[in-house]
Symmetry: C2
Subunit: 169 residues, 2 copies
């Protein structure tokens, strides 16, 4: 079974954390919440879902994990202002470990400069940012490009969760 890091900060899109995390746990995988400060409680932007940060990203390395989940909302915008969060995501991309990104999640990968030549999707508001980062943007519910699995918004969650779970089979 896989050990999956969820990189998360306040104002995440609740469903984009809850549903993939639940699907992964139901498939027997371990979820570790990685954030800016160990022990801190961060909340989702709509439903105020509380998430306790298990591990500070400063002390985290992709070597200890099998995959990365990046929920959307405003969490990626907060995280990308911190170099250690950007570097953590970059480690997964460089190691070609599975990266599951939905909605605004790709913002973290843009700041990591990890999208050149890749094909992906994300929330419509960041479509131009994704293209400008040197990637191909597709308007599809789920895009699978080797290790990188991406979706656009909460409406894509069933397809996104299925693709994430399949990737770790």
């Amino acid at each position: 079974m896989a050990k999956v890091a969820v990189i998360i900060d306040k104002d995440f899109e609740d469903s984009e954390y809850l549903q993939p995390a639940e699907a992964l746990k139901n498939s027997g995988h371990e979820i570790v919440h990685v954030g800016l400060k160990e022990g801190e409680e961060v909340k989702g932007k709509k439903e105020q879902t509380p998430v306790r940060i298990d591990q500070s990203v400063k002390n985290a390395t992709a070597d200890d994990f099998d995959a990365l989940l990046i929920p959307g909302g405003y969490s990626p915008d907060n995280l990308r202002a911190h170099r250690e969060a950007v570097d953590f995501a970059l480690q997964f991309m460089n190691a070609k470990k599975p990266v599951f990104s939905i909605c605004h999640g790709a913002q973290l990968l843009i700041t990591a400069d990890a999208l050149k030549g890749r094909t992906l999707t994300g929330y419509v508001s960041i479509a131009q940012d994704i293209k400008n980062a040197g990637a191909k943007y597709l308007d599809r519910e789920v895009v699978i490009d080797e290790n990188l699995i991406t979706s656009r918004h909460p409406g894509d969650l069933p397809a996104f969760c299925k693709a994430c779970v399949n990737k770790l089979r």
Copy 2:
């Protein structure tokens, strides 16, 4: 005196609307709130500052205004998902009319593809997006590049407001 459009949607950074709008009004300029739906009340993300939308962006044209103010927060991310808001901002850039953008405001200009060869600043989280858009990013409290005046965050507001007011003298 100038007629200034403020393009704004919910979850704007309160101070980044309040302080420039106040400074411009105190200098005798007219402020018109342009948004997604005329008559709608949108609120700031921190202080819940209420703003009534005076004019729908669908019916707005830069021809009717002398300058554009783009407050930050999550308002620009909401607006850039709507083509008519993006096109409205683009009209000001094409006409070389003053554009005042702070924090995440530049996101709207990125989607408008209006930043190639320009020099500006913005919130640290979108620095890579600004560079990827073909612009030069400067980490300064205010950057003046011809018609385009930009700042990074609320801490830059005194310098930003002063530069905006001076531009309309």
